[in-house]
């Protein structure tokens, strides 16, 4: 009969009350019948016999009650007694308890934090009625959509991907209106996007996130206003016009103190005056995960951009069919499935594509046209809002890695706790044997073990909260996560789930040793202990194995930590091709790599700003570009060089201002960089691009390149002359990637600025902030920071993992030392008679000490070798986090081995000394 059977039986009795009651009824009725029948046979009449039988039973209800009491109370009583005992035992064994509790707390804490984040960023459904009926419309085939542009001037500033913000999930505004008009499967189709906007209230202008929403938005969501009314179909009738605005609940509270008189007041969004008509419900933060709009504005609002070129890129844009910036979602009509809706919407989408849009294509061959016309539309569950946004991508990537890391941490913690419990269990063999011989059942022994696990796990759960808090703080530095979850907290639900998992894991770890415990043969153990023999050999060997395993685990973790640290050091030492020391940067009209047309960058702004910044005392040079150097988001596009017969190269790049490379100290290998008089015809490429084409940098100068732009009227390629070739510059925030071919275009509109100065960073940041506020008071500044900070933000995941891994390696090493110490102290105590005999026979103390050290050396060497192998194998899984160092790096392994050897020898020192001081007389007399 296995322990599992017992647990099952217990569970059955605890949870199947009804079954028990039915069984009781059967049993008691049967008893009465039989008893009565007996009495009838003895001569009583039927009725009297029954009555007598009932009396004999002592009352049906009373008997039932005593069964119930026995079944339930016995369990509870035993459990309470076990818990008390476990508590008493553990409070005496302080080291063991402290190490176990803190190991568990670490495992639980990390998981609570990461689970909270995961839940808040990726799992929480929108706070709307029946969110499961919402579906997002997506266009999964991103490429054909962009392979052909209708207008060459819309060649995106960052390459082939659209500025609107995400891959394949955005549509053009006219397409939205066409779909909205003719769709049938939805109660309504809603459009939205979010953007940074200037909000002016009473002369004060501040940047804030605005959601541009269709009139159907709130009714499709099914929301009710907290105050006033929400936007409705009357608010988005005319393109280019908007009159009303709805505030988010949080904005209403922070900006207007929750005042009821806010209705009817006016605020200006990008200089368009709007009347506040209502407040959105509390807790509703828009439908794009990670963007938290302060205001909801009718999507028909004008972008306010007057510059013709910029207007093409700006949103909202109500006319262009090749400007993809609207996100769509709908609420399924009752009874309509997503599949049905999908086929209906696909038919509609295709009809619009081939009848309206395909004829507008320029410069497309037949194949491209066909691909364009048959582009599928996909409906995906939208209960959680737009989760596919580009803003969320970094958060999602980071989170997935963090979840993997925290899961691994929990596993390691549990392995360690299981090891500790096992160790403890073997050292308790004697006590258990006494209990068993006094008649404790195996179930009672198991329940005692479980009680200990509970007594350890509960304080660990409480202690995990500070761990969780620290982890959350650490995790909120990881790129993408601050944007996705600005107010991430430890969510109670996530905490409960994570703790449940962790507790279950802890209990499982505690249950492991039960088998070996309850198999103990009381007799042998007691005899062995009584005679003080080297106990059962198995126990000693088992403890040694466990200590070896702990050394292996700790070796693995120390090696991992070493490799991660090495990798971080490599990244820090990386030659960026740009000198970023004493440079600060900031962005205008752009946040987190999402550009905000309609705000900030205008012709002339960049020049004015750079002039003023250069005039700051102590500033030696300035530069500017369209997107930040070393930021995560860099688009790519295809490039061909005229006169070179080669496949198109995938290149990334940027648009930059004059003297960019000089300011960053980037090598110019040939030609020159842009100066302030350059027109839009020249480009600069990098060495890698020349190398890929097999050309020398010098021979690139004067060639023309085609980066995919086409004339709207003729469809002819727009080409640029190469005026310069630069060396290696790391452009992307993924600094560990190989340098790609790069193409730099000049641009008069720039919104990222760099200032190099000899001032201390704080002073420089302040001077820059003041200067911008003076020169361009209406322009909001984002990401004002040193370039070092910008650089570090990109490797936050790596830093976080390295941090966690360090904590864990320290803990595991402490555990291994403890385990070794335990084994040796135990074996020295066991062998004191033998040692005493050896000393008596004249063995020098040095030899005795060496004998003990040999024992530890064996365990340490085996453990270290196994750990090194494990580190090399497991490290392969973490290879994506590593840069410039292999998981099995020999130098790191040797260093870790030396460290471990030192720790194990340290742990062995006390037992070894004790052994060498064994007094032969007392050891022998003891027998």
């Amino acid at each position: 009969m296995t322990i599992l059977y017992r647990i099952r039986a217990l569970a059955r009795w605890l949870f199947r009350r009804e079954e028990i009651e039915r069984a009781l009824d059967t049993d008691l009725e049967d008893y009465i019948e039989r008893s009565a029948a007996e009495k009838v046979r003895a001569g009583m009449n039927e009725a009297e016999a029954r009555r007598a039988a009932r009396i004999e039973l002592g009352g049906v209800e009373q008997t039932k009650e005593s069964v119930r009491v026995r079944l339930s109370f016995a369990v509870i009583d035993n459990t309470l007694a076990d818990l008390r005992l476990a508590f008493r035992t553990l409070s005496r064994q302080k080291t063991f308890s402290a190490v176990t509790v803190s190991t568990l707390a670490l495992g639980i804490g990390v998981n609570v934090a990461i689970f909270s984040l995961f839940q808040q960023v990726l799992l929480r459904p929108l706070p709307v009625p029946e969110p499961e009926r919402l579906v997002n419309l997506t266009d999964p085939v991103a490429d054909p959509k962009f392979a052909v542009r209708m207008d060459p001037r819309l060649f995106a500033t960052q390459g082939g991907s659209n500025e609107g913000g995400e891959r394949g999930t955005v549509f053009s505004y006219p397409m939205f209106r066409d779909l909205e008009r003719d769709q049938e499967p939805f109660t309504g189709l809603a459009a939205h996007t979010f953007d940074e906007a200037k909000i002016a209230i009473d002369e004060r202008t501040r940047p804030a996130t605005a959601a541009y929403v269709s009139g159907s938005y709130f009714s499709v969501l099914g929301l009710r206003p907290a105050l006033g009314r929400l936007l409705g179909p009357d608010d988005d009738r005319v393109d280019g016009r908007a009159e009303s605005v709805v505030l988010s609940h949080a904005y209403w509270q922070s900006e207007f103190g929750g005042s009821l008189s806010v209705l009817g007041r006016t605020l200006a969004i990008n200089e368009v005056p709007l009347t506040i008509v209502g407040v959105a419900p509390r807790g509703f933060h828009g439908t794009a995960v990670s963007a938290r709009p302060s205001v909801f504005v009718p999507i028909t609002i004008s972008s306010g951009v007057t510059d013709a070129f910029a207007a093409n890129l700006a949103i909202p844009n109500h006319t262009r069919r090749d400007h993809y910036w609207v996100r769509l979602f709908g609420r399924l009509e009752p009874g309509v499935t997503r599949e049905q809706a999908g086929s209906a919407m696909n038919a509609l989408h295709r009809a619009i594509l081939s009848e309206v849009e395909a004829p507008l294509l320029s410069g497309a061959d037949e194949q491209q046209r066909e691909a364009f016309r048959t582009r599928p539309l996909e409906l995906v569950p939208g209960a959680r809002g737009q989760t596919g946004s580009r803003v969320l991508d970094p958060a999602r990537n980071s989170l997935e890695r963090l979840v993997a890391v925290s899961g691994a941490v929990l596993l390691l913690c549990c392995a360690n706790v299981a090891g500790l419990m096992l160790l403890r269990a073997t050292s308790r063999a004697g006590e258990v044997a006494v209990r068993a011989s006094l008649g404790a059942t195996r179930a009672r022994l198991a329940s005692l073990q479980l009680a200990e696990a509970l007594v350890l796990a509960l304080p660990a759960a409480i202690l995990s909260l500070p761990f969780a808090w620290f982890t959350l703080r650490g995790a909120s530095l990881v790129p993408g996560i601050p944007a996705a979850a600005p107010d991430a907290t430890l969510s109670p639900a996530a905490a409960l789930i994570a703790m449940g998992f962790a507790l279950a894991a802890a209990l499982a770890a505690a249950l492991l040793p039960i088998r070996s415990l309850i198999r103990t043969k009381p007799g042998t153990v007691l005899q062995a202990q009584g005679a003080r023999h080297t106990t059962t050999k198995g126990v000693a060997r088992f403890r040694a194995t466990l200590a070896t395993a702990q050394v292996a685990l700790s070796m693995g973790l120390v090696a991992m930590t070493g490799v991660l640290a090495q990798s971080l050091a490599n990244i820090a030492r990386l030659d960026l091709g740009a000198d970023i020391d004493s440079v600060v940067m900031f962005e205008i009209g752009r946040r987190d790599g999402i550009s905000l047309p309609g705000l900030g960058p205008r012709l002339g702004t960049a020049g004015r700003l750079e002039e003023a910044l250069a005039a700051i005392p102590g500033v030696s040079s300035t530069a500017s570009s369209l997107s930040p150097l070393l930021s995560l988001q860099k688009g790519t596009f295809n490039v061909t060089v005229q006169g070179v017969d080669a496949e198109p190269l995938r290149a990334s790049g940027d648009r930059i201002g004059p003297n960019f490379f000089e300011m960053f100290g980037t090598e110019v290998l040939a030609g020159r960089e842009f100066n302030s008089t350059d027109g839009a015809e020249g480009v600069i490429v990098n060495r890698r691009l020349a190398e890929r084409l097999g050309l020398a940098p010098d021979s690139m100068i004067g060639r023309r390149i085609d980066a995919g732009a086409r004339r709207i009227d003729t469809g002819a390629a727009v080409t640029y002359e190469i005026v310069g070739v630069i060396g290696d510059l790391r452009l992307s925030g993924k600094v560990t990637e190989d340098i790609q071919p790069q193409v730099f275009f000049p641009t008069p509109i720039r919104d990222t600025f760099y200032v190099r100065g000899a001032l201390p960073p704080e002073a420089l940041l302040n001077a820059v902030r003041e200067t911008v506020a003076r020169v361009e008071p209406t322009i909001p500044v984002f990401n004002l920071q040193t370039m070092k900070q910008q650089f570090r933000a990109n490797i936050a995941v790596e830093r976080f993992v390295a941090g966690i891994s360090t904590v864990f390696a320290v803990l595991a090493t402490a555990l291994a030392a403890l385990g070794l110490y335990g084994v040796l102290a135990f074996s020295v105590a066991q062998r004191s008679r033998e040692i005493g005999l050896r000393v008596a026979l004249g063995a020098p103390t040095g030899r005795i000490r060496r004998m003990v050290l040999r024992q530890v050396a064996r365990m340490a060497i085996v453990g270290i070798v196994l750990g090194a192998i494990a580190a090399a194998v497991l490290g392969r899984a973490a290879q994506s986090l590593l840069f410039g160092v292999e998981a099995g790096d020999p130098i790191v392994l040797v260093a870790a081995a030396v460290l471990l050897a030192a720790v194990t020898l340290g742990a062995a020192y006390i037992p070894a000394r004790r052994a060498s001081r064994v007094d032969p007389m007392s050891a022998l007399r003891y027998e």
């Binding site: 009969m1 059977y5 017992r6 039986a9 217990l10 059955r12 009795w13 028990i20 069984a23 009781l24 059967t26 049993d27 008691l28 009725e29 049967d30 008893y31 019948e33 039989r34 008893s35 007996e38 009495k39 003895a42 004999e56 039973l57 002592g58 009373q62 008997t63 005593s66 069964v67 009491v69 026995r70 079944l71 016995a74 008649g439 059942t441 179930a443």
Partner: protein
């Protein structure tokens, strides 16, 4: 059968602590038996020395079943009523053997003390 007053009457004893389970398991080892049968068999086997009332019998039966030492099958009895028949499980049998050995040692020890005194 008439009830006798408790305790005072010669020839009747309380069942010693902790032995009820041993007795029940021994009885059902011979053949599956229902609650009434167990009580009767106990009385018959001890020739009336031990009498167990249902208020003690059923809690003991249910606890044994919960602990996986007894299992139960429902059968139709002679007059077409449902009745629950108890049998020991493998673990119950093992437990019984251990208990028997223990009991033998206890009684042997006690009687040797008594004889030696």
């Amino acid at each position: 059968m008439t009830r006798q007053p408790k305790g005072v009457v010669e020839g009747k004893l309380n069942i010693p602590q902790g032995t009820l389970e041993l007795l029940i398991l021994t009885i059902v080892r011979r053949e599956p038996l229902h609650g009434y049968g167990i009580a009767q068999r106990l009385k018959a086997l001890t020739r009336g020395t031990f009498e167990i009332n249902p208020g003690s019998l059923f809690p003991a039966l249910y606890a044994l079943e919960r602990d996986g030492k007894l299992r139960c099958e429902e059968r139709l009895s002679d007059n077409n009523r449902q009745a629950r028949y108890y049998t020991p499980t493998a673990s119950g049998l093992k437990h019984l053997e251990a208990e028997e050995r223990r009991w033998e040692r206890v009684t042997a020890a006690i009687s040797s003390v008594l004889q030696g005194a």
